[in-house]
């Protein structure tokens, strides 16, 4: 296979150079969201509802406005009117209209000369509420008695007769699962639930915005996608998009949570009113209460299996709660659920359910980890009861190139089987288990995304290269971009500097989401470098007086393409760059497109866990991630993504959860009681990079950032269930829950 062989000829790709932003980050020179200041800057505070659901009767800010240092107060009236669709949802979420829809919902904001003054003045804003009945649980929200969050929010996909809180429905599959179940030797159907978890990025949302009376503005913010911020701010403030320039700061974690807009339009609205720059930094409690956690779910999964391990049929109902707005990722939950398996009979149904909780936001492979938890738990139970090997069963049923996916299309070239085989061969899978420990296996799937992308590559006079991309670097992508440019141009990695350009500098770039950056910005970088090479060859051809087609580019030099082209010494990039002013002007390569062909990615995880039977505490003792990367540009950062997904999955599976009291107030809006794992909670997470090249990328790259969080919930639950001898069907598997399950069994 020519494509696969090409893969072995890389010089830079596949090596592990230091990341270009590393020194800035370890020395504190890197500038994050809250690190910006401006002369005359004001500090903003957002006032939030203490109620889960309430009518806003009256907001009286007169005392606050009169307070020392206060320069502006804004409410919903200070934003654009008449918005529709998702823009309306975003506005309604970041500044409540008639009703507060969840604990922490913004109702007003203040800008003052110091953050202390703003905080003091915030206490002077009088908000009168009429408290309304609320609901926070996904199953309760679907019951008849549940209060309606928003009348008429459902779209045409919802079957008649369902509660108005069910706002969208997905239904797909093929064959007839009932027929499949009839052929099975064993059918298992169980209900599973997962709680909402937060992305848990360490850096809170922060921005510094200026919007003048002339409608021109500047915005510095911490985001995964500044073109999206620009577009949303322009709509919500009713200004022209190009009059607002947005610059993305360094980012201290996003994981999907910083694809959404929560505070930037508020800072700009305050700035417009005060005619001063406004800085807004979210306190941690606000991050938990008012930015997007992921959906919580309730799921029923039914699978039939023959004694030889063949899955004969599968069906699932996936109910996802995404807060007080439509948008819970239930279609992804449904579509990912059975994706790893080639099934004759399969059906998946998803429901998007509204509750009085914050608007959910993307979190790494939105919706997929929960689906895997339910499906892979049932498969594990079937394997246990039929006495079958969990990897052999998965291999037997695995999706392969050409088989029909559970949600419709036929698979292109995919690497699921390769991950299962690598997992089977890994010493972890055959290592003896300690007494009382359990092992869990799970597969996971994510689509990956491409998206609108624009890149520019400019040559400097000394032959070094300035690469501008529009996708904020959330996982070491600048290193990978430098590497791909260096590979194409045949120059050292150190000779390329990659910058995340602002919105005024490049064409539209979609958000850094969908594991798209190394794929799409990478593809664009390669194409921009190839465009540059063409221009370089042309300059050499002109100098030599031969056709541009007769010049080739090799190892950073232009060379005649063969003996017939003429006999000239190689012309290095530095030489061409040094003379470019006299030979036709600046040399800049670029590429703009919406590529198609982001290859999907599969993974298989192996987990060992021990359970303390007296306290219910779980220790994850060994963890191995096996995942298809297509091609690992920088293997260390691919491994980092694998390990990060596993670490977040461990938190989600064991301890992380949104805890509400009976009044619908969030009880754990801080890192003390919202328990993300600390380093000592984790074993060293072993990684295996499988490379089944993606035909849709010049180097074979597949996105890797999200698939890694798909298998952990299931793999850990399987390990814990096997250790405890009791099937754990509700996440998180906090100690008290495990202890109760053990008690209930004995």
């Amino acid at each position: 296979m020519a494509f696969d062989e090409e893969m072995d000829e890389f010089k830079v790709v596949g090596t592990r150079p230091d990341r270009p932003d590393g020194i800035d980050k370890v020395t504190g020179r890197a500038r994050f969201g809250a690190d910006a200041t401006a002369p005359g800057m004001l500090h903003a505070v957002i006032i939030r509802s203490p109620h889960a659901h309430a009518r806003i009767v009256r907001i009286d800010a007169s005392k606050a406005e009169a307070a020392h240092g206060v320069k502006a107060v804004v409410t919903r009236a200070d934003f654009a009117d008449g918005l529709e669709g998702e823009n309306w949802n975003i506005l309604e979420n970041l500044m409540a209209g008639e009703r507060a829809l969840y604990d922490g919902h913004a109702v007003a904001a203040i800008a003052a000369t110091s953050s202390l003054a703003a905080r003091d003045a915030a206490r002077l804003v009088e908000v009168e509420y009429e408290v309304l009945p609320h609901v926070t649980d996904v199953d309760e929200a679907m019951q008849e008695a549940a209060p309606v969050i928003r009348e008429g929010a459902a779209d045409g996909s919802v079957p008649a007769g369902m509660h108005p809180n069910v706002v969208r429905c997905h239904d797909s599959g093929h064959g007839d699962p009932e027929e499949g179940f009839a052929e099975a030797d064993l059918v298992i159907e169980e209900r599973f639930t997962t709680e909402a978890t937060h992305q848990g990025y360490i850096e809170p949302h922060a921005c510094l915005g200026t919007l003048g009376p002339d409608g021109r503005g500047e915005l510095w913010c911490c985001t995964q996608g500044h073109w999206n911020v620009q577009k949303v701010c322009a709509a919500l403030l009713d200004v022209e998009t190009s009059k607002l320039r947005v610059t993305a700061s360094e980012i201290g974690g996003g994981f999907g949570g910083k694809t959404a807009v929560f505070i930037e339009p508020v800072a700009l609205a305050l700035s417009r009113k005060a005619n001063r720059p406004v800085k807004l930094v979210m306190p941690r409690a606000d991050v938990f209460r008012a930015t997007g956690p992921t959906a919580s779910t309730s799921m029923d999964v039914k699978i039939g299996m023959k004694k030889d391990g063949t899955i004969t049929g599968a069906s699932g109902v996936f109910r996802c709660q995404g807060g007080a707005f439509p948008g819970a990722p239930m279609e992804f939950t449904a579509m990912c659920a059975f994706a790893p398996y080639a099934l004759k009979h399969v059906r998946q149904v998803g429901y998007d359910v509204m509750t009085n909780r914050p608007k959910q936001a993307a979190y790494r492979a939105p919706g997929s980890p929960m689906a895997a938890f339910a499906v892979e738990s049932v498969i594990d139970e079937l394997c246990n009861r039929l006495g079958l090997d969990p990897i052999d069963v998965r291999l037997k049923n695995a999706s392969r190139e050409g088989t029909k996916a559970s949600f419709g299309p036929s698979w292109d070239r995919i690497g699921l089987v390769e991950t299962l085989e690598a997992a089977k061969e890994h010493p972890h899978f055959s290592a003896p288990l300690a007494e009382g420990a359990g092992r869990g296996i799970s597969c996971g799937f994510w689509f990956n995304h491409a998206g609108e992308t624009a890149v520019q590559l400019a040559l400097s006079e000394d032959g070094t290269v300035q690469l501008s991309v529009g996708t904020p670097d959330i996982g070491g992508s600048r290193a990978s971009m430098c590497m791909m440019a260096a590979e194409e141009l045949g120059i050292p990695y150190e000779d390329v500097r990659t910058t995340i350009a602002d919105t005024a500098t490049l064409g539209y770039n979609e958000i850094s989401h969908g594991s798209r950056v190394t794929y799409a910005s990478g593809l664009a970088t390669i194409e921009a470098a190839r465009d540059t090479v063409k221009k370089l060859c042309k300059r050499a051809a002109d100098k030599w007086g031969i056709d541009a087609e007769a010049v080739e580019w090799r190892d950073g030099c232009a060379i005649p393409s063969g003996p017939n082209a003429g006999d000239f010494d190689p012309m290095p990039i530095k030489e061409i760059a040094g003379r470019m002013g006299q030979t036709g002007g600046p040399i800049v390569g670029h590429f703009e497109a919406t590529p198609e062909g982001a290859g999907v990615s599969f993974a298989t995880h192996i987990v060992d866990a021990e359970v303390d039977r007296e306290t219910g505490a779980t220790t994850v003792t060994r963890y191995t991630v096996v995942q298809d990367a297509g091609k690992a540009i920088h293997p260390s950062y691919v491994e980092g993504q694998y390990q990060g997904g596993a670490a977040q999955g461990i938190g989600w599976a064991l301890n992380e959860e949104y805890i509400y009291d009976e009044d619908g107030r969030l009880l754990n809006a801080g890192f003390l009681d919202y328990r993300i794992p600390v380093a000592s909670d984790l074993p060293m997470i072993d990684t295996v990079i499988v490379e089944v090249p993606n035909p849709g990328h010049p180097y074979g790259v597949r996105g890797v950032g999200e698939t890694s969080i798909c298998p952990p919930l299931a793999a850990i639950a399987n390990a814990v269930s096997n250790a405890a001898g009791v099937r754990m069907q509700d996440l998180p598997m906090r100690p008290s829950r495990i202890l109760e399950a053990l008690k209930a069994r004995s």
């Binding site: 009880l667 003390l672 008290s736 202890l739």
Partner: protein
């Protein structure tokens, strides 16, 4: 806010006694500053005790008892080998607090006077039979640690009273102590249950024992019945079962986001048994 740096406990006490608003002493500040930052408590007078001579001294008296200055940090305690040899349970309890950064500041006195029922070093101190020296407007007094907390965030210290040192009794021959806590994570968490045990042995037989439990009642509890269940035994299964039963019986916890009544009560018995085993082994060497 007024910030004071008195050079004696008498001066510290006098400032506190004269103050009319919200007053806090500043030892490590790992509770005070967090409460200040999160708008929970904004003191009018903040009295730093770290400038007072001797506040960071650890002294072993001639009779084998110990005096630990009110500002000795967790990190300093954890490097004191002679103290670790005699009171490993007290040291490990303070060492559990926070991270490396917090360890550089947090103190036994601060942990006690903050009044949290979940304070980690307090069950260990109570099990050890520790006392505190208190300087107040009416002179000085010595109180048993178990008599200091009176409820969540409340202590028996009177206005103007300040703790100048923590005293640990002489360990004596064949004694051992231990502290264990249950948290859902391995670090950086608040005890859902804490258990401190200190005991003395004569051969295999336990001659004296004190058991204290944290996070299962409005204050840290000294559970005398639990200690009594061990005395006279060689820590056999019956004694351990009696210990667990006494520990469970003493629990008066609440159900909250960190744990239910049932879970806390059950785990109190489990941890008391486990801590007793460790203390017993330590007493044997």
């Amino acid at each position: 806010m007024r910030y004071h740096t008195p050079s004696s406990f008498e001066d510290a006490s006098a400032i506190a006694a004269a103050a009319t608003g919200v007053t806090r002493f500043l030892a490590g500040g790992t509770d005070v500053l967090v409460q200040l930052r999160s708008d929970l408590v904004t003191p009018d007078d903040l009295i730093d005790i770290k400038q007072i001579a001797g506040v960071r001294d650890i002294t072993r008296r001639d009779d084998g008892s110990w005096r630990i200055g009110a500002a000795v940090s967790g990190a300093e305690l954890a490097e004191h080998e002679a103290l670790i040899a005699e009171w490993p349970g007290v040291v490990e309890a303070l060492e559990l607090i926070g991270s490396t950064q917090i360890q550089a500041r947090c103190t036994l006195a601060g942990n006690l006077c903050n009044g949290s029922p979940a304070a980690d070093s307090v069950p260990a101190m109570i099990a050890a039979g520790a006392t505190v020296n208190v300087v107040g407007p009416e002179g000085t007094r010595e109180i048993a640690v178990e008599d200091v907390p009176t409820g969540p965030g409340m202590t028996s210290l009177r206005p103007g009273e300040v703790v100048s040192a923590v005293n640990l009794p002489a360990r004596g021959e064949s004694g051992g102590d231990a502290y264990l806590r249950f948290i859902p994570r391995t670090e950086m968490d608040i005890a859902v249950v804490g258990a401190g045990v200190s005991l003395s042995r004569d051969g295999d037989t336990i001659t004296a024992a004190r058991v204290a439990l944290g996070a299962v009642a409005p204050t840290v509890l000294l559970v005398e019945e639990a200690g009594a269940a061990l005395v006279g035994s060689a820590l056999d299964d019956m004694a351990l079962a009696a210990l667990a039963k006494a520990a469970e019986a003493a629990c008066r916890p609440i159900s909250d986001k960190r744990g239910t009544v049932e879970f806390r009560t059950h785990v109190a018995g489990v941890l008391a048994r486990r801590a007793a085993r460790i203390a017993y082994d330590r007493a044997g060497v």
